[in-house]
Symmetry: C2
Subunit: 696 residues, 2 copies
């Protein structure tokens, strides 16, 4: 099977259509769960057993990093299968997997290095070839995804994979500033990035709410700006090594001139208004900003960036540059005078001036500057990179002006979008589709963003994973890979697998629910789980707007809205069931039985949950949502009753039910009842003549 | 409410009977989940809110260890509640919890130090008083267990607790030798010990299968005897500090003269038969033993114990001494000649000789010798401590002879006993009950033992927890605390709470099941969970005898028998339901409905599971057990049908069903189907006239 051409079908193929490969024997037709989908894959005959005799050997170029990658690979394979591996080096026998690389990658990982690899698995062995260790590391991750339990033991199916990324910049940004994210949490997420072949960790390190890096030049930054929650330089060096070992670049971000209150706690003289300043505890856009008219700002930033440029070896250095509200500038006569005197027109002109002063400082320390949309100014050198949070069109516009860019609009993990919605966002669509090849090449890729107003060490993994795997696939796999059903099936399997890395996006959940429930019977706890399984937090920025009291960094994140995953798999599956039932002209007894069981469980759930609501304020808070779920189950069952009898439901019934549903769709306790729209489909099918006639 | 006297009822009281306290208001009658049960507790009025303003202060003696304990306490409280605590030190206001200690505990923690504390919680504050930090640390753990979610937020009920341990030696032994146990796993288990107030970690460090400590004097011990899996001396020092910080002594065990193959890989000259030796991979009792007739054995042990005595500061040093099969001694003419020449009679006499040579060496290095039953010899100094694996009578016999002892018989966690059975084992019952007070004082306590043939990093926590909490209670709480229902209810809650420490006895489970299942639908996976929830591994040493092939240290521990908990909560609860139903004369519609739902789910479970059995060899292995569960459900439903109709089932039906049940009770895939005896009760009730007549 050829590459590129057949890729539109590959998503599905990877699910269950491997039988089309003529060489595969029937008993070997197990689906593959690869994510991201490789750029080319050919299915062979048979499968390679993975047992205690599994071993890895090298040919060609090797380096200690590759040894460590293989150690990690063996440990991971051992966890995944439960087979002790690598206890004793196997000598004298031919290794099962041979890794061949040609030469070293760059000492400091660079944008655009060759990350390709070829992985050939047969029933008797495997070979992984790559120009450099970077590709070999990607190939090892693919091999791990191939290995699964089979009727005869663990095995990897025979395949021939030829793989390379679509974009050279595939990143995740974590905001360690609003909520501090402990180093071990960062590390396990880096492991996750490696597993899905992302290659950039963008570390948002300063904010109004915290300055998170030890500065030896300006120690008051971390001493007064962090509540003691910061990374030492030693920890950062360690993290950078850790990431490099996994083929991942670390791009630091220090956001200036806005988003900078925490800097001014120790250094108020840098701000545009007199201090004193305190660490900001609330969320939002705040007034404090550097004074771009004062030379000591540039002297300070020169020294500071010089220090950080040494600490972070990557060639790119992110200066933020977003969301300056300009209030401090407006209020400062000296600054307004400066704007006039330098003919800068307005605050935007002043920010351009600031960026034009900043860029040579960054460049002087050997770095290319990265900034959010707002830094874009046609007069800046073309070396800078624009990170677009505003939209894909701004990225295309930048590319037309000669700037490189990365897309983050559409990839904000904190907004609670379903994976499908992120998956549909492609950096090359819209205005970008019409760019010239040269301009297109300036679109380097994208980054998912984990802003941390509502995440901490406990739930952050669940806000990143598994949805980030869908974004990783968008940025690695061919553009034609878009099948949603395939993506969801593979994402769920990969989501389970990622737990072997120590990610806690699944394990955290029961513990948070148990805290909410308090001591409870298995039935009561199951009822809480049932409720939790069908709700999602309110989307976009509604959480902030609908908060019961103004949220701050001291607000506990222990409510149901903090615990439930951002995407309800149960609601999605119920929706699929409803769609299937209606598409079958409502003549699908198996689906009907399953819907009926589900709706009955929902209807009856509240009665079991209520005793817990009497005991726990955290359950009491969602009591209304629980009653809504009960109503939802009842409405759905009534609709099914009409459909079962083949009667069209009367209009007044329909009106009444839609009224009930409309009420249920209003968020309560900042939670959305996700199956409501699917139940509405049932109501409409029951009350519309012909809406549910059997297919021809 | 007074102490001691009312303690027989305390177990129940802690469950739900707090309403008997006249001062408690109705809305505050929440059960307490304390484990171990304190020696005295008085319930007050109201509850102390725990919110972001919670703070801790000191009066009296303090030390850095206590500061660290409070930091740990706050972190734990923060995890348990989800409330950020201790971000900023709260100054100027009165601390919510004041800790008062009188003086330091011993520099090196000693057996029998005062561990008592008094904890007084009111609606407005809490005070914890203890003679030394040891008691204060216990009190902090009690406070953590008091805090729970309430209708108005998190809170600790008002109580007055006066608490001290019943026994001074309350330990857990972990065998790090058969399977190496990584240091982080040891650490989280030490955290668990602190939570349940155990105070000894007994570390079994050498075995036929591995020598796990770096020896600088004899480096071939760890270099050739460990497959590279050993603890460095730095790691051990770190672990000892870690344990001391938690009020826990570390007693090392180096097992001699048997169980010692791994020593001889590097030093074959110490053995009683010529080498070469290899690390043992199988389980059992093996021939290799030190040569007690050769002076170089004692010279070696003197130097080795000297090195280890410095590394491990505890006053006790465990030399093992168990299970020497004597075959090497029998086969060595020089040794047999020595036995004759020294009038030692037999191998047992030779081992006594060895111990008599060993004890002064241990004493010379400042330690008291501990050994398993076999080291007991009336002519040894009374300073030694006997650890009884054979039975409580040997402990009483030793006490009569003037030796101190600790009980482990009855506390072997690897045998798969239910918590109730461990809980019933009391060091002071049987022969011990008749000892004089002076003799009784020689019974220091007990130790649970986690032998590691069938555990590794992944499932070890689940073999220790939560059952170890029941043993911890036996050794701490007053002897009268024996109520089983109370114990189980509290143990399940404490089991959930222990997870906040990072113990994985619950989280590991879904991951192991997912490995077994491979990619699966939610329904299929639920079916595997249902099956897993009602089976237990075969008990005692049956696992070894019934293994499909001879197990070794390289055997994967990835089967269902490795994954399921050692005690099925679902089977226990079903049994309670059946007992309740029968006790009600089979006239209990609510219980009947629940049993019927449960039995129906079991009957129908296999149909959902079968597709997975086609895909995964690990599911296929338990296919027979799954079919048995289906039969079990059918039998139970048939019995309920007879009971519902009020008909006595015919004798031939009874015989047939009992025959079926007899088959189902035979282990398959090394698993026992735990609800079978309860279903048998239903069959007997249905077919015995009068067995189920309504109560008068």
């Amino acid at each position: 099977m050829a590459a590129g051409r057949s890729l539109r079908s590959l998503g599905l193929l990877l699910l269950g259509a491997l039988m089309i490969s003529p060489s595969a024997l029937p008993q070997e037709q197990r689906p593959l769960y690869l994510m991201p989908v490789p750029s080319s894959i050919q299915i062979g005959a048979g499968a390679l057993p993975v047992d205690a005799s599994f071993s890895v050997g090298f040919s060609g170029y090797t380096e200690p990093r590759l040894d460590r990658a293989v150690q990690r690979f063996l440990r991971q394979l051992s966890r995944q299968t439960g087979i002790p591996l690598g206890l004793k080096p196997i000598t004298g026998s031919k290794p099962v997997l041979v890794i061949h690389t040609e030469h070293a990658s760059k000492e400091i990982q660079e944008l655009g290095e060759d990350e390709s690899y070829v992985l050939e698995v047969t029933a008797t062995g495997a070979k992984l070839s790559a120009p450099t260790p970077l590709g070999a590391m990607h190939g090892l991750q693919t091999f791990l995804q191939l290995v699964d339990v089979s009727p005869d033991g663990f095995a990897a199916p025979a395949v021939n994979i030829n793989d390379r990324p679509r974009f050279p910049w595939r990143g995740l940004m974590i905001d360690s500033a609003r909520h501090f994210v402990p180093l071990d949490v960062i590390k396990r997420n880096i492991d996750g990035l490696e597993a899905v072949k992302m290659n950039v960790f963008h570390w948002h390190l300063s904010e109004n709410q915290g300055f998170r890096v030890e500065s030896r030049k300006f120690p008051k930054l971390h001493e007064t700006g962090s509540d003691g929650l910061y990374y030492t330089q030693g920890e950062i060096q360690d993290l950078i090594e850790y990431a490099r070992d996994r083929g991942i670049r670390v791009v630091p971000e220090f956001d200036v001139p806005g988003h900078s209150t925490a800097w001014f706690v120790g250094y108020p003289e840098l701000a545009s208004a007199p201090g004193p300043y305190e660490i900001e505890r609330k969320w939002g856009v705040f007034d404090p900003a550097f004074d771009p008219t004062d030379e000591k700002t540039y002297k300070f930033l020169d020294q500071f960036i010089g220090e950080m440029a040494k600490l972070f070896p990557d060639h790119f250095f992110h200066v933020g540059g977003d969301e300056v509200n300009g209030k401090q500038w407006d209020a400062n006569p000296k600054i307004q005078e400066f704007i006039k005197a330098h003919d800068l027109k307005n605050n935007q002109g002043l920010q351009s001036y600031f960026n034009k002063r900043l860029e040579p400082i960054v460049a002087k320390h050997g770095k290319s500057m990265v900034g959010w949309d707002e830094v874009l100014d046609p007069t800046l050198p073309k070396d800078i990179v624009i990170q677009s949070w505003r939209g894909p069109d701004s990225l295309a516009a930048a590319a037309k002006q000669g700037f490189r860019g990365i897309l983050s609009n559409g990839y904000y993990l904190d907004l609670g979008w379903p994976a499908a919605r992120h998956y549909a966002v492609d950096p090359m669509t819209g205005a970008a589709a019409t760019l010239s090849p040269e301009e297109k090449a300036r679109i380097l890729g994208g980054e998912s963003c984990m802003w941390s107003e509502y995440v901490n060490w406990e739930n952050i993994d669940s806000r990143i994973w598994p949805r980030n795997a869908a974004i990783a696939e968008r940025l690695w796999s061919p553009q034609e890979v878009t099948d949603l059903a395939s993506m969801y099936t593979r994402m769920e399997v990969i989501g389970d697998r990622l737990e072997w890395l120590g990610l806690t996006h699944k394990t955290y959940y029961r513990q948070m629910l148990q805290r909410i429930a308090g001591p409870s019977s298995p039935e009561e706890f199951a009822a809480l789980r049932t409720l939790a399984s069908v709700v999602e937090p309110v989307k976009n920025y509604t959480r902030h707007r609908t908060a019961p009291s103004e949220p701050t960094s001291a607000t506990p994140l222990n409510r149901l809205v903090d615990a439930v995953p951002l995407e309800s798999a149960a609601a999605r599956r119920f929706g699929e069931l409803v769609d299937k039932f209606i598409a079958a002209g409502c003549q699908d007894p198996a689906s009907e039985a399953r819907m009926r069981a589900q709706l009955t469980a929902w209807r009856d759930n509240d009665a079991t949950l209520q005793p817990l609501a009497q005991q726990s304020f955290l359950v009491k808070e969602v009591s209304g949502t629980s009653q809504d779920l009960s109503s939802l189950g009842a409405v759905g069952l009534a609709a099914l009753d009409f459909l079962a009898k083949g009667q069209r439901a009367p209009d007044d019934w329909k009106g009444q039910q839609l009224g009930v549903l409309q009420e249920l769709e209003k968020p309560k306790a900042q939670l959305l009842l996700m199956p409501a729209p699917s139940v509405q489909k049932l109501v409409e099918a029951a009350s519309t003549s012909g809406a549910c006639s059997p297919p021809n």
